[in-house]
Amino acid sequence: MILLQLLINGLVTGCALGVVAISFALVYSTTRIFHVAHAGVYTLAGYIAWLLLSHGVPEVIALAAAALVCAATGALIQHQLYARLERRGATHLVVLIASLGLLAVMQNIIAAVFSPNILQFPVPWANRTVALGGIALTYAQLLTVLICLAAYAGVVWFAHFTALGKRIRAVASNPFLAQITRLQPNTVYVYVVAIASAIVALPGVLVPLDLGLQPYGGITPLLTATIAMIAGGVGSISGAFLLSIVIAELQNLSLLAIPGEWSIGITFFIFVIFMLFRPTGLFSTAR
């Protein structure tokens, strides 16, 4: 049943990736900023949770606290860095480089404070397995799928059925109009980055719960997630989530056909080809 096991593992990784993708897409489609430092927020979440859990804080509270801290961090980043850069008329390139710098700062502060070692979560029940049919899943994996799917549903509901969500979509679709109709895009941007940061805290805690915590590991999932976002079509939440699962499955299944060391390389290779022939993505909303 190796195939089924691979598929289920891919689903788990894909869901986590999906939440990273939709949170990143939320920021990008609204603010047009390529927020690379999002990978830093993702990493931070895990460490906050680990810190709290190491001091005996109950798991649910640790997760919630991590999300809150990330939300605050995200808001701070938008308000203090990106907004400031925008006021100075910075080009996209400038903002991107600043974001890269911020990522380096975050990763290295974490490494300095917590050491660069791979840390394990002090949560013994997370690694116990549950057997479903012919396959095995750890509780951590199970939790990841459930919570990330819930997050996805939550974001979709939020975007389409709440006032703030609609406001965000309005700003995203036409920032200029938003400005003059007093939708206050700048405030909206802060909300957006804060919410996106809180959301990304979920996989930020759940994935290391399963696989271990390290300071420099955030950029690869982020890049893969942005590929999913672009391939799924910017502006489509479901597109980003779905493509994340597809990419995760492809990476897992490709193992059967090609040597493992090429699986990441192949992903990016396919993406580059994709970019040459279909740059607007599969499900892009009309712009």
Binding site: I118, L211, G260
Partner: protein, 366 residues
């Protein structure tokens, strides 16, 4: 003149002059990774060296001369290592440095030969290191030495079909190459191989693929992420033996009951309990394999320095090199002999059992 008399007079002369010579600080260097993913190991190496030198200095140093080690961060990169090597040698006239990590060490080796600077490696095990430079000495066996011991053990245990999980970098690929070369020579076959990235901790897809090939032993060559691997192996409830090398001896992995039954070669180097406790007190961390290795290497270095100062010879790379091979038998944390550039040390076969690493037997590497 009778040789004994000659030696006695020399000793007397050196005692007199040593007493009257001004106490100077002896400067040594260390070029190891202190940032980036390799920093995990580099920092332990630093602590091992520092701990040994501090203890020695507290006892008065080498015949009254304090020893100072200048640590430099090569970020595990070759070009940085070369720059730092030149800096230490040109600006501070360092005669000897501790090194680790195969790539940067190989880059520094030709320079060491040219400048006659002694390099002591206590962490890297790439096979090329044994012959990279006459001035590069390795205090631990190369990967192939360990693989030889394990292959022999596996053959005795009747394991015929092996799968290999290896890290896609220099130490991992080196170990894989050695195993794939030696295992068939004792009658086995390699049924599958899978690479993983350094620092990658999701081994499930690779493990699934490897177990599908139905091996009777899985040989593992990874340098980081053992705790995750051990857990994920346990999840699979494997019906094959899991084997590896010294890299496996991660304290967290050993302590985890999921690691029961894993065997591995182990370069035997233990710290006496009071030393380990003192280390723990000083650094708040366990004295792991690399810390012990570099503590041992520092002790060897101190012995060499001691000899040079006693004989009133200038502390140069060449003199340290010659003295090391002259002394050639050392007693640091473990007994060690240098008949070539790589030390001969005992290698054990250990099994992880109930949270402890138990030695089944010991072999001395050829």
């Amino acid at each position: 003149m009778h040789p004994g008399l000659r030696y006695g007079l020399a000793l007397l002369a050196s005692l007199v002059t040593a007493g009257t010579a001004a106490a100077e600080t002896i400067h040594l260097g260390a070029v190891i990774p202190l940032t980036g993913p390799a920093a995990v190991v580099g920092n332990q190496e630093l602590r091992g060296i520092q701990f040994a030198i501090e203890s020695a200095n507290a006892k008065g140093g080498v015949h009254g001369n304090k020893v100072d080690v200048q640590f430099e961060d090569n970020q595990a990169k070759a070009d940085q290592a070369v720059l730092l090597f030149n800096k230490l040698v040109d600006l501070q006239h360092i005669p000897m440095m501790f090194v680790g990590y195969s790539g940067p060490t190989l880059a520094m080796a030709p320079l060491a030969t040219r400048k006659q600077v002694l390099l002591v490696n206590a962490g890297a095990q790439a096979d090329k290191l044994s012959t990279a430079s006459p001035y590069l000495v390795n205090t631990l066996p190369s990967t192939s030495d360990e693989v030889k011991v394990m292959v022999k053990y596996l053959a005795e245990q009747g394991k015929k079909k092996a799968a290999v999980l290896y890290e896609n970098d220099a130490p991992g690929i080196g170990g894989r190459d050695d195993f794939v070369d030696l295992f068939p020579k004792s009658g086995g076959t390699i049924v599958a191989q899978e690479p993983v990235q350094f620092g990658q901790t999701d081994y499930r897809p690779a493990l699934l693929k490897l177990s599908a090939a139905k091996p009777d032993v899985l040989y593992v060559v990874i340098t980081a992420g053992m705790p995750s691997l051990v857990q994920q192996l346990h999840e699979m409830k494997p019906d094959f033996l899991v084997a590896g090398s010294t890299f496996m001896a991660d304290p967290a992995a050993i302590a985890d009951p999921a690691s029961n039954g894993i065997v591995h070669t182990q370069v035997q180097i233990d710290a006496p309990p009071d030393l380990a406790a003192a280390f723990r007190k000083r650094y708040g961390a366990d004295m792991d394999f690399f810390a012990r290795q570099y503590y041992n290497a520092a002790q060897i270095t101190l012995t060499v320095l001691d000899r040079l100062v006693a004989e009133n010879k200038p502390i140069t790379g060449k003199n340290m090199h010659d003295a090391l091979f002259q002394i050639h038998k050392f007693q640091g944390l473990i007994p060690m002999e240098f008949n070539s550039n790589t030390a001969t040390v005992p290698i054990g076969i250990n099994e992880m059992k109930d949270g402890k690493d138990v030695t089944l037997r010991q072999v001395t590497a050829q």
